[in-house]
Symmetry: C2
Subunit: 188 residues, 2 copies
Amino acid sequence: MSFPRLDLVAIPGSLRTGSLNRALARALDELCPDDTAVEVIDLHGVPLYNGDLDTDQDRPAPVQALKDRIREADGVILVTPEYNHGVPGVLKNALDWVSRPSYRSPMAHKPCGLMGAAPGGSGTMRAQQHLKVILLGMAAQVFPHPGVAVSRARDKIREGRLEDEGTREFVASYLAELASWVRRVRPD
Amino acid sequence: MSFPRLDLVAIPGSLRTGSLNRALARALDELCPDDTAVEVIDLHGVPLYNGDLDTDQDRPAPVQALKDRIREADGVILVTPEYNHGVPGVLKNALDWVSRPSYRSPMAHKPCGLMGAAPGGSGTMRAQQHLKVILLGMAAQVFPHPGVAVSRARDKIREGRLEDEGTREFVASYLAELASWVRRVRPD
């Protein structure tokens, strides 16, 4: 291929060891096109947002590292659980840090895809609706796509691996379309 | 009055020392009816949600204390900032902890009011829309009211005090209606 390699990061929104969404995020690098890589980012070190600490002197090191990694990446994939019909506080909290300063942050115009997995029937669709509004609220570019919502995820993800063949194929096709879109819309 | 005293807690969704929303929350006890008290709860000690630690053995003590206090209270007032058109991760994170176990948590059927203050024109109205969906998602009862959205809040809240007379009157009338509704709908 003549394209340079596409560098995507995936951010699962759960800290749980057996997280379905971390397992889904880990499958993305296998399922993406050959000219694309997806690195999974862990939110364990990112503390609760406190505007008093959001200065160049006091910003926690894991927050600065996350901001730098997102700025460098061509695009971001949010892999969200759904808690209480919304986005987990853990994921929103990380986005609150990386979205500063408003409209000039590493998220501004960053191409973003989103997906999620949940044990129930919603497959995180309600959380994803909120997440789209939130991402647009920080001036990110949101991939316009019906979305990947993995419902009944305990039947499809076992022992940390996305096993369901239909889901793997759908996610692979999503990633191919996402990669093509990111190449088109990412800022120079 | 023949009514027993009504016990409400207010939860500001910011950790910042000069938070407009903490200042708004602190004004509520002054502005509420005589037979009602509003205690402000601080979220500083509540860590990021991790389902692995959400067991009776491992649950962090500040989380258990928050759950116990909410269970005891007659009602809750969420006082939310708006970050990225949504609810701050800090506040959503606390709600994620206290909403477990689903539909049998201290939030289930708990009467809830909501309000917020922001420097801009929205007055947190977008965050409050998300918050209503989230609260209903944990089976809380949401006070049906057009709401308190304090816009241009830096003109109305100075040095940690809600000064604007029109806002004080509107908040006082909201609290009177809220208190009356909480008495009617709270579970026995």
